[in-house]
């Protein structure tokens, strides 16, 4: 019975959110269309006469009304095809499939690092509420949210890649080429992105931990003689799991966006740098495709987080 309702809930949410994804793509399409630039000029090349540009525009169907161009694209998507790039002629889906792993690797790395540093930090601070350690660690965490991540990236490259040669300054290699090399390449970008993540996790979790530690039943347990650390482990972790998951979801979404500029600094062939180039060059199908994939990812992450939260805390399901 439980799993049936769970499935129903998932399907319900997907039905709810699919129009959101499509609406997002229509937004983007309309926006790009409004842009004064013209892909026909790019496609016609350096030497083009005005007449040639008109010919190109007709050839690629760029002179049709917006709605028709959008409907055409929708039609492609309905057949499981994200169309081809205006500029390179390559299938967008293939391009995205090729580049998405690079982006995801960085996001995963940043997320992992954020958890690795943020969670212990929040626990340590929550166990010493009001202490100097608490105040200072939270203050430093606050500054993490204020750092421009690409500036941190620049500084890291300058010191560690160019100065000490510990890490490569550019590019990415795929996991299949060797885990060690791949990790070396994403180390600096992930570190740069994690500053914000560590700060967010440390602060949110510290609040969550502190709140659970202040609950009445904890006082009872303390009166029984249990140390705060033991209480944390045995009893509070479950209560904190919901805020933790929520923060992870939030961070994952934020990182997907923040990774764009980082990819440019590190010359990483991910979907972030791809979408910036495409947007500047009015390559509609590519921008559409990336937005669709990103929105789908965000929705999927939110769904997972929501679902897991409901599993862990039935009270939410009833709310």
């Amino acid at each position: 019975m439980g799993s049936f309702w769970g499935l129903r809930w998932v399907l319900n949410r997907i039905l709810h959110l699919a129009p959101v994804a499509l609406l997002a793509t229509f937004f983007v399409f309309g926006m790009l269309y409004l842009v004064p630039g013209d892909p026909a000029v790019t496609l016609a090349g350096e030497n083009a006469t005005l007449q040639h540009i008109q010919e190109i525009r007709a050839l690629y169907g760029l002179d049709r009304p917006v709605v028709i161009q959008y409907a055409d694209w929708l039609n492609h998507v309905a057949h499981g095809n994200l169309s081809v790039s205006l500029l390179s002629g390559e299938p967008v889906a293939g391009e995205i499939a090729h580049r998405l792993p690079n982006t995801l690797l960085i996001v995963a790395g940043a997320l992992g690092l954020s958890l690795l540093v943020g969670v212990p930090l929040s626990i340590a601070a929550a166990l010493r509420p009001g202490s100097r350690f608490d105040h200072w660690s939270m203050a430093i965490a606050s500054s993490g949210v204020s750092i421009p991540s690409f500036w941190l990236a620049m500084a890291l490259v300058s010191v560690f890649a160019l100065g000490f040669h510990w890490f490569p300054a550019t590019g990415a290699t795929s996991l299949s080429d060797g885990v060690g090399e791949a990790l070396r390449h994403i180390a600096l970008p992930a570190i740069a992105l994690s500053a914000n993540g560590i700060a967010t996790i440390a602060r949110q979790l510290r609040t969550a931990f502190a709140e659970t530690l202040a609950a009445p039943y904890v006082r009872t347990l303390r009166a029984k003689g249990l140390s705060p650390a033991a209480i944390l482990w045995k009893h509070c972790l479950k209560n904190v799991s919901v805020p933790l998951l929520t923060v992870i979801g939030l961070l994952a979404n934020r990182l997907l966006g923040a990774t764009i500029v980082i990819e440019i600094v590190f010359a990483i062939p991910g979907i972030g740098s791809m979408v910036v180039n495409a947007a500047i060059n009015k390559d509609f199908p590519v921008v559409q495709g990336v937005v669709l994939v990103t929105v789908a990812l965000v929705i999927a992450i939110n769904l997972m987080v929501d679902g897991l939260c409901r599993l862990l805390d039935p009270r939410i399901a009833r709310a």
């Binding site: 004064p36 630039g37 013209d38 000029v41 790019t42 496609l43 016609a44 090349g45 350096e46 030497n47 083009a48 006469t49 005005l50 040639h52 540009i53 010919e55 190109i56 050839l59 500029l87 390179s88 002629g89 390559e90 391009e95 090729h98 890649a161 160019l162 040669h165 490569p168 300054a169 550019t170 590019g171 440019i264 590190f266 010359a267 062939p269 791809m274 180039n277 500047i280 060059n281």
Partner: protein
């Protein structure tokens, strides 16, 4: 590296053909001293552009040539240092009458797929360039009425009007020869499967990442190429590209900016720094507004301190531009040098005479990348000193080109002019009233006649003199504000030998070898 099955089959076929051809292929190596170069190795290049297409007839930008030259050759080749035309796939040519050009083609050339290069193949390519809707060389071939395969290894051009510049034009994109069989087999896919006659055969293209090539064992010049293969790693940012060479991830980085010289020197890399015919001018739309007054245009030319501009943007290392061609070019005219020396007072006088004693407002556009921004800022500050206030609208490269040339929205544009293979074609493209690169749409008096005169005589010396007259008209009318010539600045590890730069500013790797 894997060859496509098409290429593997081709090599077997060719193995049968070489026996017959071997006797003919007695071409000597260029510049005998290179005989000492080592064969082997794959050159890893950091290149700043993604190709727009590997189909030579459909490609759109100058950056493509780095990717095309390994695979394709032109009918007419060129001297690297002066750009004088010389035989390429065409062994010789002549104009029996002004509107007919006859070209005799080499007889020993074979495409990578084993099909022969002959008159029919050449005609196929030229017809495609003339009539395919996606062709970007139509404008270049505008003077051609039709092309005929007048012999097995001969083609004849029937022209609409006399055009002595045509051989020069065929040394550029319009003259690149692709395999008709492959085009017919792959159709649109040919753009990702280029087959030509060049020193290397295409292997793969991973978008915005890698384009790689491997040795063509049946290249017409025996002994070449030295390199087993070439891998282009696409790294858009020049700093990142240079770092990849310093870190040993690549062997060669092209198109550095002069500002990177300290890094190159510190890393102890080898380099070539040579001026090209590409030029940075301030393009002017002189059809309307204050720029329609010749005094204003002359004032702008006097207001710019080209040496200071050179120092600020190019560390003083590039060649200052007074006219359209650099000193090394065969069509260079010394007469227009120093026509407008730096003289801010004279500039102010001219502006006052034109009615702008209290200064003047102009609009300018250009690209948004940091290097372009730097150039714009230097120019704006220099013009501000004589009272010319500039309102800048920076756009993406393509948008700024469209806004200035097609929509005619701005007074000035600061963007690189890549140059053309033939000097008459250059002047035509820049200043003829019908040219897409003449934003104003009007011509200076006497320009058309002077230009026609430069296209009427075959002798290079006479042409140079005629072109000098065209240069004089352009300078007298102050039709643009030339700033500096772009230099081709490439850096590479000491293992790379034999690289030669050229006045085109394009990358040719024919003579490069790797000492390991």
């Amino acid at each position: 590296m894997r060859l496509t099955e098409f290429q593997q089959a081709a090599i077997t076929r060719r193995a049968m053909m070489t026996g017959a051809l071997g006797a003919l292929a007695a071409t000597s190596l260029p510049g005998g001293a290179l005989a000492a170069q080592k064969k082997g190795g794959v050159l890893r290049i950091s290149y700043g552009f993604q190709p727009t297409s590997l189909d030579p007839t459909f490609g759109r930008q100058g950056g493509d040539f780095g990717f095309l030259y390994p695979v394709f050759e032109t009918l007419v080749d060129w001297e690297p240092h002066s750009l004088q035309p010389k035989p390429g796939l065409a062994a010789s040519w002549n104009f029996p009458e002004p509107k007919t050009l006859v070209m005799k083609l080499r007889e020993d050339v074979v495409f990578h797929d084993g099909t022969p290069f002959d008159g029919a193949a050449a005609k196929f390519n030229l017809d495609r360039g003339l009539s395919d809707p996606k062709s970007t060389v139509k404008a270049d071939l505008a003077s051609v009425e039709s092309v005929e395969a007048s012999g097995k290894h001969e083609i004849t051009f029937h022209l609409k009007r006399p055009n002595i510049a045509l051989p020069g034009i065929l040394s550029d994109r319009a003259g690149l020869m692709a395999s008709p069989a492959a085009i017919q087999k792959f159709g649109d896919g040919f753009a990702r499967n280029p087959i030509g006659t060049g020193p290397w055969a295409f292997v793969q293209w991973r978008d915005n990442e890698l384009v790689s090539y491997r040795r063509n064992d049946y290249y017409r010049i025996k002994g070449l190429p030295y390199l087993d293969g070439v891998d282009f790693h696409i790294i858009a940012d020049a700093n990142t590209g240079l770092r990849s060479v310093v870190a040993g991830e690549n062997d060669f980085v092209q198109s550095l900016s002069t500002g990177q010289k300290p890094v190159v020197d510190k890393a102890g890399l080898a380099y070539t720094f040579a001026t090209s015919q590409a030029m940075f001018p301030l393009w002017l739309n002189y059809a309307k507004g204050p720029l329609a007054d010749i005094r204003v245009r002359q004032a702008l030319n006097h207001a710019i301190d080209r040496d200071a501009y050179n120092k600020a943007t190019e560390l003083g290392l590039n060649e200052v531009a007074w006219g359209v061609f650099p000193k090394a070019h065969w069509a260079y005219s010394a007469a227009v040098d120093k026509a407008y020396p730096y003289n801010p007072d004279k500039a102010k006088q001219l502006l006052a005479a034109a009615g702008f004693a209290n200064g003047l407002d102009l609009t300018m556009t250009g690209p948004t990348d940091q290097r372009s921004t730097q150039r714009q800022e230097v120019v704006m500050e220099q013009l501000k000193a004589v009272g010319v206030r500039i309102k800048l609208t920076a756009l993406s490269v393509n948008d700024s080109i469209k806004a200035f040339f097609y929509d005619k929205q701005h007074d000035m544009l600061l963007i690189l002019w890549g140059g053309r293979a033939d000097p008459s074609a250059t002047y035509d493209a820049l200043f003829s009233k019908a040219s897409p690169f003449n934003a104003s749409g009007v011509e200076a008096d006497g320009f058309a006649d002077a230009l026609a005169a430069s296209q009427a005589v075959p002798d290079l010396k006479q042409r140079a003199a005629a072109l000098g007259k065209v240069a004089q008209i352009v300078s007298d009318n102050a039709l643009m504000v030339p700033l500096v010539f772009d230099a081709q600045y490439n850096a590479y590890t000491k293992a790379v030998k034999g690289f030669e730069s050229n006045l085109f500013g394009r990358m040719r790797l024919d003579t490069v070898s790797l000492e390991s």
